[in-house]
């Protein structure tokens, strides 16, 4: 069993690195690209891909703003505008926000922060990426082939049903949901298992950094929320392809059931996007207030209760459908209740800063931006929670303003903060300070110009999802102002990209811990080695590096010649057993190709599932089938538990 003892000095550190590297190194070359399974590789792939789709979604947003810049503009017709706003919304939610905030940062950071060599189920994480990538390409290929979804990111029936949306546009949307949700679910399993079973010895639950709590809560939210939208979009697809009657009112189908299922996913999804932002804020505030977070327990309880309450408020998206008033009041109360844990988080952050030693570095600018922007979004959300007010502003530009304040405030501002904070870890070089401030101010001013204006448009009756408006409404100059702001935001994002590429080449060398922050990802080199940590760390407090004992032990006895990892107890983080982590493999890629074939084939012919399922089964069996040499080696060395 595990014992703490004193180890004689080892002089051959270099040979340790060499041994570990030869075991853990990622395969190189073209073929090797498809076999890589290390979490830093997959995490960065997610972040880069999702950021590209952020840019593409942003381009659509700018084109939409140009169309709305003046009344009765002929720049985009309704057909193209409807495709653009649908693809913009779907891209930002399904291809950017969740993949980047939850999957990308989660897969990259979680194994480092728990102090592990790799993520649990690394091949599943690789599969998750390929499925996501193929889903993105499939959905955007649709747009480029004029088969872009055009029924909104929510695709309400009956408008999206077979009678009112012939063609394949909605099918592309519905199947994109299947791709991305499968990917998110796979990531959720990897992250939950990593957090629960791969934490460094000593990292009991009550010593987990907030970002781990958030990723854990989020994984469970994904597990319970995503099936609802997979179900509703599958039912829609079946209605459209094989003639089921789920949403056909003439045959007992029901249009509100679709909305219930969609928002049972849709509202938790808002928190799936927003909670990573809060975890970034907590992490960055802790690092730059130079103290432990104030109210750790309160923050944990808040995060968990948001996870639960997030499932109890979906009906507030349906107030205008005329549901019974008692029910609506209940959902108003639930929606207001969710303000409490959110407020607790804000108070704890302010208290941390109040009693800290604040260094106002670049990531903190974005946190300040988050405070300003998200507060406005949260407070306009308070207005929307009230049923009478909601019936007036629902489906107007007031709501567009509100959720951009919430989502850009709650996700994009913290995301930029997180990028300025962690890109040095990923690339080994600091981002430029001056360019960073240009990036911040352009984005911040442009954002408020665009979206603050929309509150007024909404109150003055401008409804959402309109490709144009009549001049008599006098909405022209406010819309023009919003369009100018959108362009400014775009320039801000370009400055970030410039900064990134400039800094990769000329940025200051970051070193392992440029911010002197406290969590374990800063204990290894920047960028981390293929094996993350030469010696697996142990933990003595919530901020592992700040709280380390003078002679904090490291883990010994993990084999270096095979990809062995340590599995610890879920509650206390006590060492439990050793486990071999799967190595590089191209099977996840082929399995993703086969699965994509099944998904795409089913859009065009339901019958095709009968034969496209065969390659899926074959690739999954190939993935699983053990290699002879490995099993013989294991049989020779394995130790069975009692």
């Amino acid at each position: 069993m595990a014992v703490v003892q004193t180890n004689p000095p080892v002089s051959a550190t270099d040979s340790l690195h060499q041994r570990l590297d030869s075991t853990w190194r990622e395969p190189s070359g073209f073929g090797g690209w498809f076999k890589r399974v290390h979490h830093t590789t997959i995490g960065i792939r997610f972040i880069v891909t999702a950021f590209i789709f952020f840019l593409l979604g942003g381009i659509l947003a700018v084109l939409m703003r140009l169309q709305l810049a003046r009344p009765e503009n002929k720049f985009l017709g309704p057909d193209r505008y409807n495709q653009f706003f649908t693809v913009h919304g779907s891209t930002m939610i399904f291809l950017f926000a969740v993949p980047l905030m939850f999957q990308g940062f989660g897969i990259y950071l979680v194994p480092l922060i728990v102090g592990a060599r790799n993520i649990a189920f690394p091949r599943l994480a690789a599969f998750s990426y390929y499925i996501y990538l193929f889903g993105c390409l499939f959905f955007w290929a649709g747009l480029l082939l004029n088969t872009g979804a055009d029924r909104g990111w929510f695709a309400y029936v009956t408008l999206s049903g077979p009678d009112y949306s012939p063609g394949k546009r909605v099918d592309f949307w519905a199947q994109m949901i299947t791709f991305t949700e499968l990917s998110a679910l796979a990531t959720a399993i990897c992250l939950a298992a990593t957090i629960l079973r791969h934490r460094a010895p000593g990292m009991s639950l009550n010593r987990m950094p907030m970002i781990l709590w958030e990723k854990l809560v989020l994984s469970f939210m994904v597990i319970f929320a995503m099936p609802a939208v997979m179900l509703s979009s599958s039912m829609l697809l079946l209605d459209r392809t094989v003639g089921t009657q789920f949403f056909n009112p003439a045959e007992g189908g029901d249009v509100l059931l679709y909305q219930h299922l969609f928002w049972f996913f849709g509202h938790p999804d808002v928190y799936i996007i927003f909670l990573p932002g809060t975890a970034f804020v907590t992490t960055i505030v802790t690092a730059f207030a130079r103290r432990h977070i104030f109210g750790y327990l309160a923050l944990v309880v808040s995060t968990i209760s948001i996870g639960f309450l997030g499932f109890g408020v979906w009906v507030h998206h349906m107030f205008a459908t005329g549901l019974p008033q008692m029910g609506e009041s209940f959902f108003t109360a639930a929606t207001l209740m969710i303000v409490i844990p959110t407020a607790v988080q804000f108070f704890c952050w302010i208290a941390t800063l109040w009693h800290g030693r604040v260094q106002f570095k670049l990531p903190m600018w974005w946190i300040a931006g988050f405070f300003f922007v998200f507060m406005i979004g949260g407070l306009s959300g308070l207005m929307l929670a009230s049923v009478p007010v909601d019936t007036q502003v629902h489906d107007t530009f007031f709501v567009v303003a509100h959720f951009h304040y919430v989502l850009i405030g709650g996700a994009v501002f913290p995301m930029f903060g997180a990028l300025y904070f962690w890109v040095p870890k990923m690339t080994g070089r600091m981002l430029n300070d001056a360019l960073g401030k240009w990036n911040f101010w352009l984005f911040f001013i442009g954002f408020n110009m665009t979206f603050f204006t929309m509150h007024f448009l909404g109150l003055r009756g401008m409804t959402r999802r309109v490709y144009t408006y009549v001049p008599e409404m006098n909405w022209g100059w406010l819309n023009l102002l919003a369009t100018c702001g959108a362009l400014l935001m775009g320039v801000g994002v370009l400055v970030f990209i410039l900064n990134f590429f400039w800094s990769r080449k000329y940025g200051a060398i970051a070193g392992p811990d440029p911010w002197r922050a406290g969590s374990l990802e800063w204990a290894t080199s920047s960028p981390p080695q293929s094996y993350n940590f030469a010696e697996l760390p142990t933990v003595n407090g919530r901020e592992a590096l700040w709280d380390a004992a003078p002679n904090q032990p490291v883990v010994a006895g993990i084999r270096e010649d095979i990809r062995e990892t340590l599995v610890t107890d879920s509650l206390d983080g006590d060492p439990d057993h050793r486990m071999e982590s799967p190595g590089p493999s191209a099977w996840p890629f082929w399995a993703a190709v086969a699965t994509s074939g099944l998904f795409i084939g089913s859009v065009f012919s339901a019958r095709s599932v009968l034969y496209t399922a065969v390659p899926v089964a074959i690739t999954l069996i190939g993935w699983y089938w053990p290699r002879w040499g490995v099993s013989q080696r294991r049989k020779a060395t394995e130790v069975w538990s009692e």
Partner: protein, 203 residues
């Protein structure tokens, strides 16, 4: 990254590498998969009852499903728990011949389940395109059939694997997890039967 002399270490070399049940990471992964699929099925049950509230007669305009094959399959499902339990027990003991026998018997049960399931579809007494109720019972049975087919194939693959010389300790724990997933398939089958055959008649 210099190693300090007299560095304290936590030696874990004596820890086991083959564990079963909740200690196993794959066990946790399987549980999480079951949660996802359970959430999906729960949402489908909720949809079924939602449709019930939107119609005055139930089942609307069609005959309720015939009971014979559904009940027969339910009984076979319950009986199949025995080989699943046996496989689990023998795998944990590292008994390869016991595990082989358990997996083969479990695979045979799975084949019978699938055969009966085909007849169940024909006895639903409705086309899926008839109305929303019909679509829902087809989907309930269809989604569960997908679970059943997946775990049947998994069982067959494991049974074949058990007869090769590639069975190390982690494979035994896979046999163990497969049985746990089978319990889940049976549990969902029973609930689904209660909805399709019970609720349709009683509500």
């Amino acid at each position: 990254m210099e190693r300090v002399s007299e560095r304290a270490v936590l030696d874990v070399s004596g820890l086991p590498s083959v564990v079963f049940g909740p200690r196993n990471v794959v066990w946790l992964g399987t549980i999480l998969f079951m949660l996802i699929e359970g959430a999906m099925m729960a949402m489908l049950y909720a949809s079924y009852f939602y449709y019930r509230t939107r119609s005055t007669d139930w089942p609307p305009g069609v005959m309720p499903p015939a009971l014979t094959y559904g009940v027969a399959n339910g009984i076979v499902f319950l009986l199949s728990l025995a080989p699943a339990w046996w496989t689990r027990k023998k795998s944990r003991a590292g008994d390869i011949s016991g595990a082989r026998m358990g997996l083969v018997v479990l695979a045979i049960f799975g084949a019978v389940n699938i055969a009966l399931r085909v007849y169940e579809f024909s006895a639903l007494n409705c086309e899926w395109s008839a109305n929303a109720y019909a679509s829902t019972v087809w989907m309930l049975l269809g989604v569960h059939s997908a679970h059943l087919a997946t775990d049947f194939i998994e069982t067959v693959v494991l049974a074949v694997l058990a007869f090769t010389d590639r069975v190390d300790g982690t494979r035994f724990s896979d046999f163990d997890e497969n049985s746990m997933y089978w319990y889940f398939v049976v549990g969902v089958a029973v609930v689904t039967d209660f909805v399709i055959y019970g609720a349709t008649r009683l509500l």
